[in-house]
């Protein structure tokens, strides 16, 4: 009995039997996953499998056709506008582009959510913003405009903004895509560090196997609208599923064929359209 309590997972986000389609295109076909509190969970899969869509579903920007997502006991798509906004204050979403407000400085960008949601005095806002910027190593860049930042720096500013209100969870949309090795290393370290230091729960959507494996506690592999595998990075590396092996090692051909579905090659060459 005691053991059962210890083993019971502390689930923060649970996705149950979720289906979502855009037009006639099925994006998710009954997927389920559980994201534990305090852990870094990576959701991985080939490009175009709707990983970003999943984050938007969790954030309540899109509504599922079937199934439900619950965060901390609240069913996201059933919340009223007011309660959804209350929930979002506790979530941070880091967009691939950073989505910084282009007409404000770095300082004002980080201060934005604090100003919008609290009535703190200016001196306290200043201290808070500088602390958040210090955490991502960009305190010196506070007066720059977003267009003066490199891609990696923009993502770090966005990260500082995401943690400005001390959320309980942060979602990262492809945080490693298009980064040079140094900023990649910085981001990998930051995500892990912030998660543990601030007691966050992190969800990383990515297709960078190496980086995601390096920091994730648990990984879900999604493809074709279904969860094709899940486990700790080690479990997945030693999985005997061919699909998982192909994805984790980046083989060009395997269960996911190199060739897009087509008729026979030889037949096609001699055929007349």
């Amino acid at each position: 009995m005691v053991e059962a309590v210890v083993n019971a997972k502390d689930v923060l986000v649970s996705v149950k039997d979720l289906s979502f389609s855009r037009g006639s295109k099925m994006i998710f076909d009954g997927i389920s996953m559980e994201i534990e509190r305090g852990k870094v969970t990576a959701i991985m899969g080939p490009s175009g499998t709707g990983k970003t869509t999943l984050l938007k579903l969790i954030g309540g920007q899109l509504h599922p056709q079937k199934g439900a997502i619950t965060i901390d006991g609240q069913t996201v798509h059933e919340l009223s506008h007011r309660n959804l906004y209350r929930l979002r204050k506790q979530l941070g979403l880091l967009f691939q582009s950073g989505a910084l407000l282009t007409d404000m400085t770095v300082f004002e960008n980080v201060a934005f959510p604090i100003r919008e949601h609290t009535k703190l005095p200016e001196s306290m806002i200043r201290s808070l913003v500088l602390m958040k910027l210090q955490a991502v190593g960009l305190r010196g860049a506070r007066d720059l405009m977003p267009n003066e930042l490199s891609g990696g720096m923009a993502r770090r500013v966005a990260l500082a903004r995401a943690i400005a209100l001390d959320p309980m969870m942060i979602m990262y949309d492809e945080p490693f895509t298009g980064q040079d090795p140094i900023s990649m290393g910085v981001l990998v370290q930051l995500i892990r560090l912030l998660n543990d230091a601030l007691g966050l729960t992190s969800i990383i959507v990515s297709h960078d196997v190496q980086e995601a494996c390096a920091i994730a506690d648990y990984i879900y592999l999604v493809s074709g609208g279904k969860v094709v595998g899940h486990g700790t990075p080690d479990e997945l590396r030693h999985s005997d599923s061919e699909w998982i092996q192909q994805f984790m090692n980046g083989f060009a051909d395997g269960p996911v064929p190199f060739h897009y579905a087509a008729r026979d090659y030889a037949e096609d060459l001699v055929a007349v359209d």
Partner: protein
Amino acid sequence: MVEKLQQLGQRTLELFEKLGRSSLFLLQTLMGTLEMLLRPRLVIAQLHSVGVRTFLIIIVSGLFIGMVLGLQGFTTLSDFGAEESLGVMVAASLVRELGPVVTALLFAGRAGSALTAEIGLMKTTEQLSGMEMMAVDPIRRIIAPRFLAGFISMPLLAAIFSVVGVIGGHMVGVGLLGVDDGAYWSQMQAKIDFNEDILNGIIKSVVFGFIVMWVALFEGYDAIPTSEGVSRATTNTVVISSLAILSMDFILTALMFGDI
């Protein structure tokens, strides 16, 4: 044949969907506008970019239109020996029609298209979406202050346009063509009625400001988030609001001056 009918049906459905979306959008914006009264700083910043930056084009156009009116009016009126009435003619044309209409057209071209492009780009670069995820409603934070600023600016700009136009007409009529200075002003003073002319002109400019802001902000907010989508939305803003202004002007004129 069936295919064409299907296309027609599809288009009609899309049109009504868009109308529905834009009505909802307007409703949310208006609700947000009330909230903006508590945060005047956001509105003042927008008054600057929407109103003050449109100032120059309004003054220059107003001056030239007034000068042309003076010139054309003089030629016509002098045939009847009525050139003393030039002041009335210039002022009535400006206050009743040209002031609100031309200002609204310029406003749509200058401020409306800029707003559509700005909002559309914010959508394309996920800034609006990012705001939503920070639990900040973009309609309240971004759209509402711009709407209110445009709504306030438009009648003021139209009034300035008319004033500058009257001065332009004076410059040509009195300065160049020798109309009597006293007659220009005194006839204007006697014949232009506050309720009948000026108030109706103000009502027109308020209605046009409302239309331009609604179209411009909705087109930006509803734009397809690609560069092509934003460019199409910007064109839409200018075309739709110009047509809406001109047709609405006819309806308003008929109601106000037509004795229908």
